[in-house]
Amino acid sequence: MTAKLFAASAVTLLLATVAHAADSGPIVIGVPVGLSGANSVVAPSVVQEAQLAVDEINAAGGVLGRKLQLEVADDASGAAGAQKAFDSLIYQKKVDALISMETSAARNAGLPAVGKGHVPYIYTSFYEGHSCNKYMYVDAWVPEQQVPPIIDNFVKDKGAKTYFLIGSDYAFGRGMLGFTRKYIEKVGGKVVGEEYLPMDGADWTPILSKLKDAKPDAIITSTAGGAPNVTLTKQMRAAGINLPYANLAVDEGTAKSMGSDATGIYLSASYVTGIDSPENKKFLDAASKKFGADLKTPNDLSVPEYEAVYLYKLAVEKAGSTDPAKVIESLPTVSFTGPRGEIKMDKEHHAPLTMYLGQVQSDGTVKVAATFKDVDPGDQCPNLK
């Protein structure tokens, strides 16, 4: 009897210590990200920005007196890798939250584990839209936010009425151009051609010849990132095509690697390094101080990661604990003013964002040509409150 009582109290004591440890130990943030595969070019910048945010928050005293800790896992940029990464982060590492930029395939594969494990998840990649889950919030753009600034500007400034659309043949490429077509037709424009090449296709010649025949006022492209984008732009310039040209898939880094061929391209993003605000300047200074020559250029995929860590911090502080149910209640109610401006994920789990229409200059930098305040993400998840 005494032995039993002793054992029971020992167990209780042990449990109490464990529970206590969980409350005073670090708050663990899981970052499943494509360290290998298609996203491997951009993933290092995402990890850097997450690290920067965590270090800044810890240096300022942490969250509710606890430190933040990162747990990075490779999702191999795809569905199979994401399932493993989410499972190990949620069930083995017992993370308190997931904050990450991933491919759509990886996100969709990970969501069931997020629902079962009841883990708040902030998705920080721009994507094709309409992905809805009680536990997921998104602080990056959807087509409803990225495309209109470009078309509106082309209609107003260039008087463009006819458009030619070119893309890579995959979900994001077709999704973006599908929305673009609808929007162009809504504002009274006309699409005179819409052509796709497989993702590994390298010869755009016949499409470019069709483009020349169609004589559009402007060109909109949405290829897979990296190689197809560079190939298309090189061949377009070699064919002597110099129409107003907006690229939905280009970022500053890729634009730089295209050299003079990229000059004049329009892009639309919620972040460009040239944003003139004290928050962005402070962020860039901190990033280059921390990483020095190793700093990967901050971009439209890594900066939302930085801000999402802060949004999570604010949500935990407001909820008073890391309890998932309380955190997902408070996530849409907090706002953080970061490099991209004020971010609040209060629109059906998505965030209204300030969008920047940029134009690539001859030295490879991106100059902001127009700013569109608080562009609404539209009805992404009408069934979520």
Partner: protein, 277 residues
């Protein structure tokens, strides 16, 4: 007119890309699946040449020499023991291609590399403005084809190579050093692949996987051309033409697979492909 130029220049690019593979397959009877990696090596030679401050055109001879030297090393160390085991040679060259891709990634990273274009702008041909560079590739294909023909038909090496193609045992018994012929031909094939890599740089992105996209098409063309460079030229014009026509009038997605489909069809109808022509 635009369509005709598209077909001719597309055929020229296909020819430039696949002629190195044909040389190796014709004489050595093995398929060099590291061909794509040699294209990539060539393109990175141009990257290095530009970084060293040389004229972008210097990439062409540098790539040919570097590609041939590396090809020689690969032949001696990896390919030579496998001539009697062509299936193993496929595995070995495929693996070699992966290793080379990873080595390039280690040294240069996965990013797309920037090289100034060899030529830019357009020129008026009859009624249309056409890319100067694509016309230059057409010229380059003709020059490479002519030099290749001269080597095969007009030199001692070519004579020995043709002897090896027809009957290697007999060639050896006549005193031809067939090992040396194989080595030299492999080096030429590898050098031509690297040269093609440089010629591709203004048309495509330079990254560690750039060769893969071109390898399959080149492989199909060589399958139907067998050992004859004239058959290869014919196959490039026919297949390239169909690719452009299908892409223009039906869909570029279908155009992308037209070479593979046509190659399968041709080989089904006539197992010797174009080589009888």
């Amino acid at each position: 007119m635009l369509l005709l130029l598209d077909i001719l220049t597309t055929a020229a690019i296909l020819f430039v890309v696949s002629v190195g593979l044909l040389a190796i397959f014709g004489v050595l009877k093995i398929i060099n699946f590291a061909h794509g990696a040699w294209l990539t090596i060539g393109a990175y030679c141009a990257v290095v040449a530009v970084k060293m401050g040389l004229n972008p055109w210097a990439g062409l001879p540098i790539a040919f020499v570097v590609g041939a030297l590396l090809g020689g090393i690969a032949e001696l160390l990896i390919i030579r023991p496998l001539y009697r085991r062509p299936l193993d040679a496929i595995l070995a060259t495929w693996g070699l291609g992966i290793v080379i891709g990873q080595l390039i990634t280690l040294e240069f990273g996965r990013d797309v590399q920037l090289i100034p274009n060899l030529m830019s702008g357009t020129i008026r041909v009859l009624s249309v403005d056409y890319s100067v560079y694509r016309l230059f590739v057409l010229l380059a294909a003709l020059v490479i084809g002519a030099l290749f023909a001269l080597t095969i038909e007009g030199t001692r090496l070519g004579l020995a190579a043709r002897a090896v193609i027809m009957n290697e045992t007999l060639a050896r018994s006549l005193g031809i050093d067939t090992d040396r012929v194989r080595l030299v031909i492999f080096m030429i094939g590898a050098g031509l692949a690297a040269l093609a890599g440089v010629l591709l740089t203004p048309l495509t992105s330079v990254d560690p996987n750039m060769g893969v996209a071109w390898l399959i098409g080149a492989f199909m063309l060589v399958m139907v051309a067998d050992t004859s460079y004239l058959a290869l030229a014919a196959a490039c014009i026919v297949f390239g033409g169909v690719q452009v026509l299908v892409s223009t009038f039906v869909s570029p997605v279908l155009g992308g697979i037209s070479i593979a489909v046509l190659a399968a069809l041709v080989l089904r109808i006539n197992s010797r492909g174009f080589s009888r022509a």
